[in-house]
Amino acid sequence: MLLIFDEWLYHDLLGGENRLGAVQFIFALSETKDQIIILKNSPFHKKWRELIDNSPLSDSPQKMIRGMLLTGFELDPDKIVYFEDSDIKNIKIPRKIKVKPDDAYLVKLALLKREAILITTDTPLFSGLKSIKVNVVMRDDFIKSYTVKKIT
């Protein structure tokens, strides 16, 4: 399974009430053959790198999260599929849906890899993508079923 995330994953891993769920999800994901799709230098990619490169050592959970991202994803050549801007530059987003400029790369990635699932917290984006039959799931629904299925 190919997965595309928007920036909620970064924010959840960094703190807040969804942090534990995000950690359990990432751990479950590392145990599977499922892959993450990342567009190089995209907002998500920059935040992903920030989690790995700039995790404060004084924050024990963050240090461990960094370890999980590093050992379970970054160091495994089969875990992340990277794309470049040039891969998506010719992908056209259907006019019938409205997409914020910052989210355009996510939609283009989903259109490029139609088998991928985009996991989001953005309801308008979710509805728009549904209308053009892109595989999209809301974060809470996805994490709940994925983590339970993979961990238990």
Partner: protein
């Protein structure tokens, strides 16, 4: 270089097949069988070094005595034989040696595929090398006879001419070189370091204890300088051995770079101490295959990160082969970083994730990529971390825990 090892029915190694690189790393949980690989190689060396002892003596590795045949046999099955096979190249000829150990006897086997030569010698231990096996082979249309006592061989051509004489000489050197290669295996165990400021200089021995290692450092004019060179690379410390003229006592000293005073090694940090011991054993010219148990012990992660560079340089400069067991994620990541930076070819490194299931050790060779990644990731280093993260993110609220010791309860509250 030893290219591969196969061990069967030894401890938890029911059937282990390993292909080695110039630098081979074993990682995994405690008690999964990583050290058994080193013990297996050490047992082979013991047999080649001195076969004229009872079988159980082969399991005494000096730094650890594994016990009797029954105690080291897989599932303590005394009726089963155990075996240790290695493949190597001597004089550019592939040679395979296999030792079979049974409760009271054994078998020494040699194979040179290029000559289609196979020799097998059943023996009873203690074996004083007084038996022989003979076999004929044909190479490039000429016939040869090989006689072998399990350790040393003599190959003679049926018809003597310059060409067949050369083949016989090369074959003899290859077989005898194989035993020599096995003799040059050394293990650097976890228990290491120096415990005194000075040592009496004694005979060299096999460097199995601190007295022998200290003596070697004192009498080998080049060894202490090599140790100092790599110690400086790793820890910004210099090392020297001081022997007063006419004295038979050697003092081991360290010196902080840019500092004025020297210290007795035993009064320096134990990380430095064990590292000097490890470097002395590694750089000693008598051995070519070095099995290193957890080089990272007592070292700060920042120092551990510098170890791979030194190990790579040692392997490059001395052509030694180094096998390493480790629990250090920092060490493994630093090795991957060296691969990514082009300091070492990915083919020159082998990673084995070691696990144990139902009492059997499994070795999973993890493929390394040119950009310093490892297929399957390094999740084994994160074992248990999820539970820790959970406890941080979801702390149990309620009563304060009881003090561990009531005497401390007031002062520290």
């Amino acid at each position: 270089m030893i290219k591969s090892l196969k061990a069967t029915n030894f401890r938890s190694l029911k059937e282990a097949n390993l292909k080695f690189a110039p630098l081979t790393f074993f990682y995994g949980n405690n008690a999964v069988g990583k050290s058994s690989v080193f013990y297996a190689l050490n047992i082979l060396r013991n047999v080649i070094q001195n076969s004229n002892v009872p079988t159980d003596s082969f399991f005494n590795l000096n730094y650890i005595n594994l016990g009797t045949f029954k105690q080291v046999a897989y599932k303590h099955q005394q009726s089963e034989s155990m075996s240790f096979s290695i493949s190597t190249k001597v004089k550019n000829i592939n040679c395979n040696f296999k030792l079979v150990l049974k409760f009271n006897s054994g078998e020494l086997n040699l194979e040179i595929p290029e000559y289609d030569l196979k020799l097998s010698l059943p023996v009873t231990f203690p074996y004083p090398s007084n038996q022989q096996v003979q076999s004929n082979f044909t190479f490039k249309g000429k016939n040869y006879s090989a006689t072998w006592n399990g350790l040393v061989a003599q190959v003679t051509p049926e018809v003597i001419d310059p060409e067949s004489g050369e083949v016989a000489k090369t074959a003899t050197l290859a077989i005898n070189g194989l035993a020599e290669k096995i003799r040059k295996i050394d293990v650097i165990p976890l228990k290491r370091g120096f415990t005194r400021p000075t040592y009496g200089i004694i005979g060299e021995g096999f460097l199995t204890n601190e007295d022998e290692v200290a003596s070697k450092l004192a009498v080998d004019a080049y060894l202490d300088a090599s140790v100092s060179h790599y110690l400086e690379q790793i820890m910004d410390r210099q090392f020297r051995v001081k022997v007063a003229p006419g004295q038979t006592q050697a003092s081991l000293m360290t010196h902080e770079k840019d500092a004025t005073e020297s210290y007795d090694l035993v009064n320096d940090g134990y990380g430095v101490n064990q590292l000097v011991y490890l470097l002395a054993k590694t750089l000693n010219q008598s051995y070519e295959v070095i099995c290193m148990e957890e080089p990272e012990i007592n070292l700060h992660p920042g120092v551990v990160r510098k170890l791979p560079e030194a190990l790579i340089n040692i392997a490059k400069e001395t052509k030694k082969q180094i096998l390493i067991s480790t629990h250090s994620e920092s060490l493994i990541i630093a090795v991957l970083s060296a691969v990514a930076k082009g300091e070492i070819r990915k083919e020159d490194v082998a990673f084995y994730l070691t696990t144990k299931n139902k009492g059997i050790t499994h070795f999973e060779k993890q493929e390394i990529t040119r950009d310093g990644k490892v297929k399957g990731g390094l999740k084994s280093f994160m074992t248990g971390e999820l539970e820790d993260i959970k406890s941080f993110l979801n702390p149990v609220s309620g009563q304060e825990p009881e003090p561990l010791n009531p005497e401390f309860s007031e002062e520290n509250s």
